[in-house]
C-alpha cells in the first residue's frame, strides 16, 4: 500500500506558488514537504480514525492534506454540527482521534488522541507517515432525513477528475461537502490554486476577493449562483468557467448566467455523495440528452419508477453505522432518489422522491413549480412549499424573490400566477405567493426546504 496515491504526494509534484486561501488564511501548497498544520502531533495520528471538527475551511483543507495517507480514516464534519451529531458520527466511524481548530476546548467526544490544527504550517521533525490508503467518511447531504455516512477513498473521489492545466479555482461550496470536496481535489490534481469562502462570509465579500485575484474557474450550487445574480456584483468576477451542481439547474438560471458571463463556459454537473460524479452538461440547456442512458463505460444510468439509478466506478463503497441499508442494489446501481422526466430526446430532473407534495392525491415536485416561477421575467428565485389543508391534505404555496426593477404588488402576483396557470396543471399552481427579499440556503449551499 506504500505507493497508494495520497494528497501530500499529489501536491509535492508542483513547486510553484500555488496557495489555498480563505478570507482569514492563505497557505502555500509546497509547504507540506517538511511542515504540517498539525505540527509534530501528526505522528500521533498515524493509522487512527480521525474526526475532523474544524470551523475554518483553510485549516480543514490543510488538515485533509496532512491526514490523507496518514490516518486510517478521516471523518469530515461540516461546520454547525452539534455535539450529539458529532458523537454519533464518531461512534459509527470507530473514531479514536479528534482534530479541532477552535481556541476553546475541543468538543467532548471520547477519543485517545486530541490534536489541534492551525496555520501557518509548523515544521515536522521526521518524514510524514504516508503509507495508508485512507478512508474518507462523508455525510450525505441529508435532503431527505438525517445524513448517513458513506465511505470513499481518494481513488473513488478523484476517479472522475480528468487531467487539466493549472487554473485559479474558486468555490462557494464548503469543501467538507461532496460538491466542494470535488473542487478542492480538482484544484490539487491540476496543480491549481484554490480560493474559498469563509463560513458566514457574505456573497459580496466573497465575490470581491475572487475578483481581486482574478479566479478563472468558479463552482457553486444554483442557489449560490442565484445569490450572485441577486447581489448585483456578479461582474466583480470574470470567469472562464462556471460550474453548477448540487441542485437542479433550470434554463432561466442558465440563461441569466450566460448573459452575465458571455465568454464563460457554463456547465452543470450531476453528482451525489453516494453515486459520485455522474456527468456534466455543457450545451447550455437544462436537463441532459436521453441518449446518455445508452452510454457504457465508467458510469451507467437507468431509470426505475421515475428515479435515476447510477452505476459508477467512482461511487462510495458503503454506508457506515448500524441498521444501514446497502448503498447499491445487487447490480451495483445506486438509487439517487432524483426523479427525471422525458421531454422529447432530453431528460429533466423534476425533484426529489422524498420532497413530493401531495395535493389531494396528485403529486407535485416543488422544484417543478419553482422552474416555472423562475422562468418568469420578474422572478429571481423562488421556493415552493406545502401548506397543510383540511380538504386536500396539502396545497402548494410559494415564496418569491423579485428582480430589482419589479415591484411586489397584487398586479405582479397575478401576472406570475397567470404564467403558472398557463404552464402547470391546476393542482401545481401556487394557491398564494409571498414576496420575500431573500431565501435562506443551507450550509450545504442548497435552498433550505421546510420539514
Amino acid at each position: 500500500m506504500s505507493d497508494a496515491p495520497n494528497l501530500s504526494r499529489l501536491i509535492s509534484a508542483g513547486t510553484d506558488r500555488r496557495v489555498i486561501a480563505t478570507r482569514d488564511y492563505t497557505f502555500p501548497l509546497d509547504g507540506f514537504v517538511r511542515a504540517s498544520s498539525l505540527g509534530p502531533s501528526l505522528m500521533d495520528l498515524e493509522a487512527r480514525s480521525v474526526i475532523l471538527v474544524v470551523r475554518d475551511m483553510a485549516k480543514a483543507a490543510a488538515a485533509l492534506i496532512d491526514l490523507d495517507g496518514c490516518a486510517r480514516r478521516i471523518v469530515l464534519c461540516p461546520p454547525g454540527w452539534d455535539v450529539s451529531r458529532l458523537a454519533s458520527a464518531a461512534r459509527d466511524s470507530d473514531v479514536d482521534a479528534l482534530v479541532y481548530d477552535d481556541e476553546d476546548a475541543p468538543p467532548p467526544i471520547p477519543v485517545d488522541v486530541v490534536a489541534r490544527c492551525g496555520l501557518p504550517l509548523r515544521e515536522l521533525n521526521s518524514p510524514r507517515p504516508a503509507s495508508h490508503e485512507t478512508e474518507w467518511i462523508l455525510p450525505t447531504s441529508g435532503t431527505s432525513g438525517p445524513p448517513k455516512l458513506v465511505v470513499h477513498t481518494l481513488r473513488s473521489l478523484t476517479g472522475a477528475i480528468a487531467d487539466a492545466p493549472p487554473r485559479l479555482w474558486a468555490t462557494f461550496y464548503d469543501i467538507r461537502r461532496y460538491g466542494g470536496l470535488q473542487i478542492f481535489l480538482r484544484a490539487l490534481s491540476s496543480r491549481s490554486s484554490l480560493y474559498l469562502g469563509a463560513v458566514e462570509e457574505s456573497v459580496l465579500s466573497i465575490l470581491a476577493r475572487f475578483g481581486d485575484v482574478g479566479v478563472t474557474h468558479i463552482s457553486g450550487t444554483p442557489s449560490h449562483w442565484r445569490k450572485v445574480l441577486m447581489s448585483g456584483a456578479g461582474r466583480r468576477v470574470d470567469p472562464d468557467y462556471v460550474r453548477l451542481s448540487g441542485e437542479i439547474a433550470d434554463s432561466a438560471l442558465l440563461s441569466a448566467l450566460r448573459a452575465l458571463y458571455p465568454r464563460a463556459a457554463i456547465e452543470h454537473a450531476y453528482a451525489s455523495t453516494e453515486a459520485g460524479v455522474v456527468f456534466a452538461v455543457n450545451d447550455g440547456k437544462a436537463g441532459f440528452p436521453a441518449s446518455w442512458l445508452e452510454r457504457d463505460g465508467s458510469v451507467q444510468m437507468k431509470i426505475v419508477d421515475g428515479s435515476l439509478r447510477v452505476r459508477s466506478n467512482w461511487r462510495a463503497m458503503r454506508f457506515l453505522g448500524e441498521n444501514t441499508s446497502p448503498l447499491a442494489d445487487e447490480d451495483g446501481f445506486v438509487d439517487t432518489g432524483d426523479i427525471v422526466e422525458w421531454h422529447g430526446d432530453r431528460l429533466y430532473f423534476v425533484g426529489r422522491r422524498g420532497g413530493i407534495i401531495n395535493v389531494g392525491g396528485a403529486k407535485v415536485h416543488p422544484e417543478e413549480v419553482e422552474a416555472v416561477l423562475n422562468a418568469h421575467a420578474a422572478v429571481r428565485a423562488s421556493r415552493a412549499f406545502a401548506r397543510t389543508n383540511s380538504i386536500t391534505g396539502a396545497l402548494v404555496f410559494a415564496e418569491v424573490v423579485l428582480r430589482d426593477e419589479h415591484r411586489a404588488d397584487a398586479a405582479c402576483e397575478s401576472d406570475i400566477l397567470g404564467a403558472c396557470r398557463a404552464r402547470l396543471p391546476r393542482h401545481m399552481v401556487p394557491a398564494g405567493l409571498r414576496f420575500v427579499s431573500d431565501l435562506p440556503i443551507t450550509e450545504g449551499g442548497k435552498l433550505a426546504r421546510r420539514g
Partner: protein, 79 residues
C-alpha cells in the same frame, strides 16, 4: 364576513375558470361548481384572512353545505 367570503369565491372562480351562479340568498355550496381544489384554496385564503381554520377546530363536526353555514363557521370561531 359574507362579503369577504363572496369576494374570495369570485376570485377563485375567475382564477380557476369556473362560471358561478348568481350569489344571492343562502347559496348552496355544491351549486358553486367548485371541486375540492377550489374549496381547499378558499379555506386556505380564509385562514390567511381570519387566522382560523374551522375545519381543523376541535368542535368541528360537519362540512358546511350552504353559504350561511360557511359564514357561521367563521363567526363562531372568531369569538
Amino acid at each position: 364576513m359574507r362579503s369577504i367570503i363572496l369576494d374570495e369565491i369570485r376570485t377563485i372562480a375567475l382564477d380557476q375558470n369556473k362560471e358561478l351562479p348568481e350569489l344571492i340568498g343562502d347559496v348552496d355550496l355544491q351549486g358553486l361548481g367548485f371541486d375540492s381544489l377550489c374549496f381547499a384554496i378558499l379555506f386556505a385564503r380564509l385562514e390567511d384572512i381570519t387566522g382560523r381554520d374551522p375545519l381543523n377546530a376541535a368542535n368541528f363536526t360537519r362540512f358546511p353545505s350552504t353559504m350561511s353555514e360557511l359564514i357561521a363557521l367563521y363567526e363562531e370561531t372568531v369569538v
